[in-house]
Amino acid sequence: MENMVNIYLFGKKYSVPENLTIMCAMEYAGYQLVRGCGCRNGFCGACATIYRIKGETELKSCLACQTKVEEGMYVATLPFFPLVKQVYDMNKVTPSEAVMMQLYPEIYACVGCNACTKACTQDLNVMQYIAYAQRGDFEKCAEESFDCVMCGVCSSRCPAGISHPQVAMLARRINGKYLAPKCDHLEDRVQEINNGTFTELIEALMQKPIEEMKELYNNRDIEK
């Protein structure tokens, strides 16, 4: 017999094998998941979950697909959180501090409580990346927030009503589009293709008998 632990799904007690993730424990208990389940691998942020261990005061947060059950775990999933997503035209956005002021002014109401950082399911320094956004330092904001899965738990804990993941999203797009160094070899190659530099080569490959293609493939030189 497997070792079992008692957990409380939305307050109701279930006995489940101790080696399961919270997500699998819900399925073991009999739930058919529709909401609150996405990639099941920690990338999509669909399964944000808040829990408290019986007898403790601290409220913890996690992704249900990435976290093992524990004895006395009170679990509430957060399959949706109403983040504020402002709509903007990336071609008109400018990489200046004013952008944040205009689109997400609430970030300047941050009280510095650090609840967002404590709540982050990815262990990111959320308050720090918001501070970078406040200063218009998009590059640092982008770097610090890069692993964000936009689960929204940070925002659920924020007394200032900040939608941190959306702020970071904007910062990353500004960084990627405007601040990151331009890639010359990419532009050159697109130009070459448009000029037809490779057309003849490719046309030849389109016509080549399979046997010749095999020769080409099996004897191609491979970059070290």
Binding site: V34, G38, A46, P181, R189, V190, I193, F198, Y217
Partner: protein, 534 residues
Amino acid sequence: MYSEKFQKSLAAVEAAREANIALEPRRMTAQEKTDLLAAYHPDYKQDEFEVLQIGPNKGDKVPKELAKTLQAHSRITADCVDLETPDYDVDVLVIGGGGAGASAAIEAHESGANVMIVTKLRIGDANTMMAEGGIQAADKPNDSPAIHFVDAFGGGHFAAKRELVQRLVCEAPEAIQWLSELGVEFDKTEDGTMVTTHGGGTSRKRMHAAKDYSGAEIMRTLRDEVLNRNIPVVDFTSAIELILDENGNAAGAVLMNMETKELLVARAKTVIIATGGAGRMHYQGFPTSNHYGATADGLVLGYRVGAKLLYAETLQYHPTGAAYPEQIFGALVTEKVRSLGAKLINANGEAFMRPLESRDVSAASIIRECSTRGNGIETDNGLAVWLDTPMIEKIGGEGTIEKRIPAMMRMFGKYGIDIRKEPILVYPTLHYQNGGLDITRDGMTTNVKNLFVAGEAVGGIHGKNRLMGNSLLDIIVFGRIAGKSAGATCKNVTVGKLTLDHINAFEKEIADAGIETDAVSPKLLPDYTRNVNA
């Protein structure tokens, strides 16, 4: 953090590490690869396949589980919805909210079409989000679209449709440029040069990445752009049946709210199937690296209205799925781990193969090591081999892992395994549907007008085996192609009277073939719920 039973083998791996780093295992010959695949690759296990008895691919072999769902009953009857009063009426209906669907929607919108996305979970709940390693594009001076062509065509066993490969490789650099302009953060050096690596089967380093969140970075940016354009996204709603018009052209879909089960009708001048893959069908009982909704829905929708499949019998088993701990069994361990220098090592500490052969060859080689050669390591989930991640830090310097593959470090770190210091255990996992619906170079199905397909639901781009980094590429290239084509086509379409007559015709085929089945499809979601009354 490995228990006692792993220690002996672990010690062998550690003892041989320096020597294994220096070792350059030789390339297999073409014949060796052919023999290896025939003997060990799951696609070659004949008793796991079944011949289709009905539909456009009648007589073809596909995995048993796919045959069952392709030859299943519709979820609805032809008269259960009122087609005369559609709930939605659009120019372009995109089914699926992954990378291909989002790219298609953006381009259709750009062309001025009235476009909407319907997706059974949320926009971004897709395999795109989980793609870790990167995206190929021949944009370096020592590379060219022609070299990329040879790699992709050869890697796919010379079976791909060349007109599709041509578009894939020739439009790749532009796809990277398009993504960059949307704000996707590719790894670059200070002068803007793309940081590129090898993938299995590539002859040039052309794998572009955004750390090991490449797909996530692309997907969240595309999603943000869809929302910025105010393209309607109807989420938690699945397409369960295509609608044709009286002329036999695609003209919409019957939709079902995943929570309330309410049925809705969407009328459309053009339809784009961008429903993704099939990992959650668990072919041959394999675990999968795919997201929760990967159940081959688009193949079913298309097949029932007569669209042809191509290479539906070929699946990709990613060589390195996590084999331990069991909480992440089947999860993807990106090929980038091997691109950065980690080698595959057997129980005795031997580097048994060149780490970056194409995926099917690598998977077959691992299966051989664990079966007939008896060099696997036993875990609670079956046999596995080591992937020696600490090699990466020795080759690339301390900090390489945290900088280049942070998601991997996090995934194993949660279970007490520090991949900078300890190797990990891997075994092949069901990763990708190589085949799918047959399309023309403009993304339309070859035999149902106004029905387009993009992304993993397409067959023919990758032949019988896809290379790493060509899938993120194809969802962008062919997503954009489908969006542009549908956006242009819809301007000249007049939709005739809507009909679901094909449901009755398909039912008749089922009955005439003597198929007895209680299955309904599309499957929509896998069933992982324990039967609590059993």
